[in-house]
Symmetry: C2
Subunit: 405 residues, 2 copies
C-alpha cells in the first residue's frame, strides 16, 4: 500500500473512529446510559465519514478555533488543511463541557456515536455561509441547513458505533477507505482519479472517466449514497445505470466503483476541495473536477471549483485536481469533445437540458445516442415512467404530484 497516495494529515495514516469487537459492545452499552442528543442526517453522515477514516485526520467535531480557521484560511488550528467546517449543533441549553452524550440520528433513531464535549460555543452562521458557500441566500440548500442549525456547536472527540443503513442498503457499493486502498493496491494502481457522481452517467461523464483512464492507472467512480436534494435520481437506479455503462463500455480492470455516505452541501468550489480531501483518504491521487462541480443553481462560476485548487495554502492538499472542461458530442469532431478541444460552434454540438432529458425519458422517448448510451437510457426511461405512473395514481387520490419535480 506504500505506493498509493498517503492519507490526509500529518500522520499520513488512516484514522478510523469506528469501534469494533468488545470495545464497540462496551461503548454501545455505555451509550444507553448517556444523555441523548438528536442529530441531523448531515451530522450522522459526517460521523460515519469519521468512523470509516474518510475524514482522516479528524478525531471529532471541530471546536471554535478550527471552525474559524477553516472558514477564513482553509486551515484547522494545528495547520492541517480543511475546506468546510465539520460541526455538531444543538439547541439544548443544559449540555455542558465535559458531558458525555449519545448522538442519535433523528431520521433513523440509530445511535451513531458518542461524544465527549470539550467545548460548547456559538458561531456567526452568516460568516460560515459567506465564506463556505459565498452566499447567505436561504434558497441555497447548504445555507438552509447551516442557518437551521442549533444555537450552540459542540466540539469533542467521538467514538463511532454504527455505519447506519449504508453497509446493508448499498451492499455492493459502500466502501471504507481501507477497502478501496486494498483494491487499488491489488490492482497495482498508483495514479488513481476519483470521479464524483451523484447522477447517472451519460456520455459526458463517460468521456471524463475515459480521459482519466487514458492518463492514469485507473478511475474510481465514487458515488454519493448520502442524502440528495429533491429531484435527484435515487442511488439504486443510478448504480444500475452506471454498472451497465461500465460493463459495456469500459475495459475490465480500469474502473473501480464505490459509494460514500457524505451528504451533499452544494458548496461548489469548497466542496470540490472536500471531495479531494476524502478521496485522498480513499487512495486517489487525483480528483476529476468538471464543470460546476458540486454546485447548485447559479451560485458558482462554472470553473470556480477548478480555480480554487490554485488558491489554497501551498502544500495543504496532496490529492491533485484533474480539470476537465465542459464536454459534449460534436458532429464536426465526430466524437466527444470539450470546450478545450473542440473549435466548432454550438450548432455542431449535441446539448440537452436536464428538463428535456427528463421529459424525453418520462414519455418513453429515446435519448440521442450522442448523449447517452442506449443501455443507460433504457434504465432511466423505466425509472421515469415508473414515476409517471406513481404520480398518476396519486393524482387519482388528489395528491400534489410534486414527486415529478
Amino acid at each position: 500500500m506504500s505506493e498509493l497516495i498517503v492519507p490526509h494529515g500529518k500522520e499520513e495514516k488512516l484514522i478510523p473512529l469506528l469501534l469494533e469487537g468488545s470495545e464497540l459492545a462496551a461503548e454501545v452499552e455505555r451509550a444507553k446510559g448517556l444523555k441523548q442528543i438528536r442529530i441531523t442526517s448531515r451530522e450522522a453522515s459526517d460521523l460515519i465519514m469519521m468512523g470509516i477514516g474518510a475524514f482522516t485526520p479528524l478525531t471529532g467535531f471541530m471546536g471554535k478555533a478550527d471552525w474559524q480557521g477553516v472558514c477564513d484560511k482553509f486551515l484547522m488550528a494545528d495547520g492541517t488543511f480543511w475546506p468546510i467546517p465539520i460541526t455538531l449543533s444543538t439547541d439544548d441549553e443544559d449540555v455542558k463541557e465535559g458531558d458525555d452524550l449519545a448522538l442519535v440520528d433523528e431520521e433513523t433513531g440509530t445511535t451513531i456515536a458518542t461524544i465527549n464535549v470539550t467545548e460548547k460555543y456559538t458561531i456567526d452562521k452568516e460568516h460560515e455561509c459567506k465564506t463556505v458557500f459565498t452566499t447567505t441566500d436561504a434558497a441555497h440548500p447548504g445555507v438552509e441547513k447551516v442557518m437551521a442549525q442549533g444555537k450552540y456547536n459542540l466540539a469533542g472527540p467521538v467514538k463511532v458505533l454504527s455505519e447506519s443503513y449504508y453497509p446493508e442498503q448499498f451492499k455492493d457499493l459502500y466502501q471504507r477507505p481501507a477497502e478501496s486502498r486494498k483494491i487499488f493496491d491489488e490492482m497495482g494502481w498508483k495514479r488513481v482519479a476519483a470521479l464524483q457522481l451523484r447522477n447517472p452517467m451519460h456520455s459526458s461523464h463517460e468521456f471524463l472517466a475515459k480521459i482519466a483512464v487514458e492518463v492514469m492507472d485507473g478511475v474510481y467512480i465514487h458515488q454519493l449514497v448520502g442524502k440528495l436534494k429533491a429531484g435527484d435520481i435515487p442511488a439504486d437506479v443510478r448504480v444500475n445505470a452506471i454498472s451497465t455503462l461500465v460493463d459495456n463500455y469500459f475495459v475490465k480492470g480500469t474502473v473501480v466503483q464505490g459509494g460514500y455516505p457524505m451528504e451533499m452541501r452544494y458548496a461548489g468550489p469548497r466542496e470540490g476541495l472536500l471531495h479531494a480531501v476524502f478521496r485522498q483518504n480513499y487512495g486517489c491521487s487525483h480528483m476529476i473536477i468538471g464543470r460546476d462541480h458540486a454546485g447548485v443553481g447559479d451560485y458558482y462560476g462554472p470553473f470556480d471549483a477548478q480555480k480554487i485548487f490554485d488558491e489554497i495554502p501551498e502544500g495543504g492538499l496532496k490529492c491533485q485536481n484533474l480539470n476537465i472542461d465542459w464536454t459534449f458530442y460534436c458532429y464536426k469532431c465526430g466524437g466527444m469533445a470539450s470546450m478545450k478541444t473542440c473549435p466548432h460552434g454550438k450548432e455542431d454540438r449535441m446539448l440537452l437540458s436536464g428538463t428535456i432529458v427528463r421529459k424525453t425519458l418520462s414519455e418513453g422517448g429515446d435519448l440521442p445516442a450522442e448523449f447517452s448510451r442506449p443501455e443507460v437510457a433504457k434504465i432511466l426511461q423505466e425509472y421515469y415512467q415508473g414515476l409517471e405512473e406513481k404520480v398518476e395514481i396519486k393524482l387519482h387520490g388528489a395528491a400534489t404530484g410534486d414527486v415529478k419535480k
Copy 2:
C-alpha cells in the same frame, strides 16, 4: 519563465553553444585556418541541438567515461542522466588530443562548429549498439550508422557556428528552446505535453494530442525536421497536413507547433528518453509516449518506451512520460478510443496498415473519415499522386521507381 519546467542538468538553465555577434565572426574566421574534419548529418544535427541549447547541459561531444556511463547506466560521469551517447567519430589517424578542428557537414559543406579535442578514444561499437538499440542487427538504421562510424571518437568542448539550413528551410517551424519557452510563458502554460511527430497527423495522433490538451495547459506538436529514413513523408508535406488539421480541429491557444533538427536514431525506448530530455529543455513538463515510440521494425515491444521511464535512475529526469495506449476509431464506442478505454473487438475497430493508406492515397482514393480528417487526406493524396507521376516519368526514362518505397 520561472514557472515552466527547468532545463535538464544541475545548473537548471539553458546552455546554448551557438556563438553570436563578434564572437561568432571571430570564430568563423579562426575556423578557416583550422584542420577540417568531415562530419555526418547525424553529427551535424547533434551539434545544432547543442548550439540551440536543446542538448543542455552538454558542452561538447562525450568522452569515454561519459560514453561508458551513458551506455551502461544512463548516467554521464558527473551523474547527469543521459540515455544515448552523443559522440563524434573520425578515421583520421593524425588528429591528436589538444587539436582545434573545424567540423564540416559532409552533405552541405557547411562548417557547423569548432572543437577543442580533449580526448581521442576507441569504443566497443557493438557494446553501444547492444545497450542503446538492444540489437547489433545491421539492418537496424541506428545500428548501421554506429557501425559505420570512424575508428576513433573525439571528445571535447565545441563552439557552434551555424544552424545550417534549418532556420531558412523550416522558417515557420524551426525553434530554439528559448523561443518555445518564451511562447509557452506568454500563453501562461506550465503543464505542457510534447507530441513527437515524424509522420502526418491522422485521427490517432489527433486523439493523443487532444487527451493531452484536456489534462494539460497545452500541447507542443514538435516535428522532426532532421533526416528521416527512406519512405518517410517529407517535412513540408507533413507540416502542411498538420497545420491544416490544427487549424480545423483544435481550439486556438491550445497548440504550439515547432520543429527540431535532430536525426532519428530509431532507438525506441532509449530514444523516447532522449526525446523527453530535450523536450524538457524546450519547456515541456510531459512527453507523450504512445505505441512503438521512436521504434523501427520489430526491435522493440510496443510499450517498451513507456516502461523504460520506470527503470531509469530515480530523479534523473524531470520531464514525465504521458503514456497513451494504442488508439483507433471504434464503431461500438462511436468515437476514438484506445486499448485502455475500448472493451470491444477488433471487428468493431477501424485499423489500416501503412501499406493500405499509401495505396489508397496514391490511387487518389479517400481514406475513411474515421481514420483521417478529409482535409489531411487530401494533402497526402496530392503528395502520393505526385510521387506516382514522378515514378511514371522516371520509368519512361528507365528509372528504378524506388522513390515509391
